[in-house]
Symmetry: C2
Subunit: 237 residues, 2 copies
């Protein structure tokens, strides 16, 4: 799994959720120095921002917070505060969940690359994953690779070209819990991260969350699979 | 030159400069209905915003203004207000002008696509041009085509895929003045648009501007070439 990036820095997109924080620990293991960037876009689960701040503080990492709450005036999504149930279908396309924020990950990656150019970092780490991509086109590998190409064509910085690392791309949630265990951060992931669409901070055995939104469902299912497969204790199911 | 888009709408990126406003007239000729989007990013020539507003008002067009002034806290460029001379070399790369704003056009195209998805428009028109691209990598055709691919991979909207039109891509400034003449908007371009990096509104025969910044130099040179070649009157040189 591990390539040698140890003499380079990385910028990690940290939302405060399970995926990004698992990536953060992966980056801490694989890069010389780790910087963080967090986006505030008026998401329903805006407690993620506070949580992301606490996590960066606990780990002693620098964090750039970028307010892009103007996004809610540009695109349609039920993920924004004050919008309807995220379990509905998307207004733009009934085949995708209403929680989809069009172009969100491209905006994130572009602004992260912008900040990376300023702090002289070329490695970007993002917790996107194609395995359980839930209809989010911008979590797919083909999108990320195309984005990297476009980002580098936008600047022509040559030896400073950005490289986007996506260590979770082909993992299931179950495998992601195993990865956290291997990285020595499983307890941290369970106790500190928040992925819940409803921003509920109730602590369950699989972590914080309401336990019923699509995001909690995915996390819960993955956790119990992990427990059963790797800890041989199916008694929580 | 003209394909048949006449039953479709378009969203034009309008900065208030010569290029975008020439594109605006091109779009008015080629699309059923034209919408405008303008970005405020604390550019030195921020009078462009007012000018863009006046132009949209004069032409009776709807205009979305998006404040992305947070950009100045993310990337290095002398194009931002309060920064040094735009004639210097860029701090990130001495081969590009200091006026280069890394990732600017990708941010513009992404946010324009975001708004386009909301107003149900798939055609985006941008006044980028490779001919006199001044070292701006994100004005090149290869960048725009890659951006279109990435934008569509980000959403997977299928029949609503965005198409980025760049009618100026291979034109010289001289040819752009000729195009404006053919579109019947040459006087409008001269009298109403502002391209000057220093935001000087002094009216010259080639249009508004300080007359000495790289952008004015390019415009002036193109105008006199146009006059000489197509109006057979070299007396302004």
């Amino acid at each position: 799994m591990i390539q040698s990036y140890n003499d380079e820095d990385a910028l990690v997109l940290v939302s405060g959720g399970q995926d990004s924080v698992t990536c953060l620990f992966w980056a801490l293991k694989n890069f010389k120095k780790v910087h963080c960037i967090t986006f505030d876009y008026s998401q329903k689960h805006s407690k993620e921002i506070e949580i992301a701040q606490n996590i960066c503080k606990k780990l002693g990492l620098t964090q750039k917070i970028v307010d892009i709450s103007f996004l809610k005036d540009l695109v349609i999504s039920n993920l924004f505060e004050g919008q309807n149930d995220v379990n509905e279908k998307h207004k733009l396309n009934e085949n995708i969940p209403s929680s989809f924020v069009p172009y969100r990950n491209l905006i994130f990656l572009t602004l992260a690359s912008a900040w990376a150019s300023t702090i002289n970092v070329k490695n970007i780490v993002a917790g996107v994953c194609q395995t359980d991509y839930s209809g989010y086109a911008d979590c797919r590998d083909v999108f990320v690779k195309s984005a990297q190409t476009t980002l580098n064509l936008a600047t022509d910085f040559k030896d400073k070209n950005v490289v986007i690392h996506t260590p979770l791309m082909w993992l299931t949630k179950c495998e992601e819990f195993k990865m956290a265990d291997e990285l020595g951060c499983l307890d941290f992931i369970i106790n500190e991260t928040l992925t819940c669409y409803n921003g509920v901070e109730k602590l369950n055995d699989f972590g914080k969350g309401c336990g019923v939104c699509p995001s909690c469902e995915l996390r819960k299912k993955g956790f119990y699979e992990y427990k059963k497969k790797y800890q041989n204790s199916g008694n929580n199911e």
